[in-house]
Symmetry: none
Subunit: 204 residues, 4 copies
């Protein structure tokens, strides 16, 4: 039986998770210190550890939260209407999601770079299932002649790669273009261009 959580508990947990997400996003698990998180959460380190027994526990929580949000986003993807509509809608959702959860996305990248030691078992379950369903859908479109005969997995990877790129590499993008994640026009334009190129790339 889960302990009943007081109001303060809930607020503080979330404050910690938010702070932790930002710091883990920059420095990964090993490179992050609890001090950094505690400062960003305006909280003493012992108090932080009162909510999350260990650094690793906190990290896992952040990872799982992020992954769940991501899977939630992916699952929203309804295969209805034409391939054009479906793909367009998916890119749109993924783009928005990456921008709104940029820190979570980067925690994820860091985890992957480290070899995904905390994530492998999670990736292997839900995500694998989700991907194989997508592949089936895409194969359907190919068979019905809606899109070009490409290997579905690479279309999926391309969409993931491009949409995440704008979130994960925002530093580089900012250096090269002067535009930040917050620049709505720029991101609108990016989304439009990307969608256009991908759609033309696969639609018959």
């Amino acid at each position: 039986m889960e302990k009943q959580k007081s109001r303060t508990q809930v607020i503080n947990r979330q404050k910690i998770i938010d702070a932790a997400t930002r710091v883990f996003a920059k420095y990964g698990f090993n490179g992050t210190t609890l001090d950094q998180i505690a400062i960003m959460a305006s909280m003493s380190k012992p108090n932080l550890l009162y909510y999350f027994k260990t650094k690793r526990t906190l990290y896992r929580t952040v990872l799982e939260d992020t992954l769940n949000q991501w899977l939630g986003c992916l699952k929203e993807w309804q295969v209805e209407g034409s391939a054009r509509q479906t793909i367009s809608n998916y890119i749109d959702k993924k783009f928005e999601f990456s921008r709104d959860h940029a820190f979570g996305s980067r925690v994820f990248v860091n985890e992957i770079l480290e070899g995904a030691p905390n994530l492998k078992y999670l990736l292997g379950e839900d995500l694998k299932l989700f991907v194989s369903q997508n592949i089936l859908t895409i194969k359907g479109w190919i068979k019905s002649g809606e899109i070009e005969p490409i290997e579905p997995i690479h279309l999926i990877f391309m969409i993931w790669a491009v949409t995440q790129h704008y979130a994960d590499f925002s530093t580089q993008i900012e250096t090269l273009t002067g535009k930040t994640l917050a620049d709505k026009d720029f991101y609108q334009e990016a989304k439009k261009n990307i969608t256009q190129m991908i759609l033309r790339g696969v639609l018959k």
Copy 2:
């Protein structure tokens, strides 16, 4: 004037840089320990520090080496022949490069995630120049009607994003497909699919 480097110097420096690249690729600057590097380079820690006075010096060397290799690759890109040929050739080069320098690529990603504190001044120079030249080339193709009227920078980002994805996210890819960076068939196929989609996406 550079100090003359003995045979041992050259060999050991390279051994260290190679080891460091691998470890920094996984854990970033803060997350990496000199112990890890020393072990991977089969060398004692003090001896490692005999070659590179500080962790940061070593890191900077790795970063600069990687960036130079990357810029070298980019510069090889000859704009000759049609847009189709040029883009196709570029994706090919970039793909090969990302695979052969996967660790360097990931060091780069980590650096970007940390906000590129050591890289900003480098990114601002050579890379910016290179990108603006590319943009001009692409605009030329648009004007001459060779390709669709897209915003050039997003084409560039798309190519970078996708080609790096296969190198940086190989862990995720491996979990999902069972294929590793070393699987030549898989990567050949990836390259073919990606190239095809991008070309169809922009060519008229």
Copy 3:
């Protein structure tokens, strides 16, 4: 605004400063290790660093404490009554002070030997002012015919030199005479002899 210091804080800070003074007195800044200080303060090294962030901070605190005590002692020196009384009283005070703050005195010596890198700016302020006031006083005595016409600064240096000698060189003195700093009779006699010689040396 200084942080409020708890009871433990005050006690431990002082325990550390006392221990540090003794060790720095023997080995100077470079020659002293935090281990030595921690052991002498009956404290773990990390805990010591909880109170003083760095070795240098601790050292500076010790130096400034010592200097302030010394300046405090010097300032007590009231120019009242005859030259004889004033000088006699000053030697007395300085002698007592050197004996009671022998360790601080030696930290000071070590700092001077190292070229006073941490102290120069302090020496240049309060001490200079104090010395120039003393010089004026002494010149007054010369003008009024109370003492011989000597260069005042050398009288000051002589008093400093001799009074500190018994504190700083107690090891040598002990080897040669068998008497320690704690031997009250010996130090009483020393003070009497020194005072007598100096007074006869300058009084008319």
Copy 4:
């Protein structure tokens, strides 16, 4: 049988001793590094260790050299003529010596501050003998009524203290007066003043 020493050997040994004396003078035994000495001697560290097997050996050599020079200076002191002449001559010799061997003097101070672990057995021999002879001489002067009845040892300490002060505390003196060890006028004047005060202080 001592190994025959080549010309280079002799020169290098001396170069090392000179450099070592300067560095040990500032930082004492523990605070000094062989690197500092090697750099000051324009020599590689291994080569330095070719001449002196260990840091301690080198330090001992420096200490003994210095002590021997000092004892040599003291022994030159001929008790001939009046107390005035003898004392005056002694202060003069000691003053010159301290100035010309300021670095050695400071190595000596450092050793005393550390508790003279390397020196005790040396101090106990020659120096003790020398001091007791001096005491006899001074007692003679007292008995013959040439000087005031003071405790001889304190006269000796006073002379040592003052003459060394100008060498050991030159940093402080420079800060307060602007004069360096090299300023001949200042030191001539110091010597004159000190001699005058001490002589008046003891002569009848």
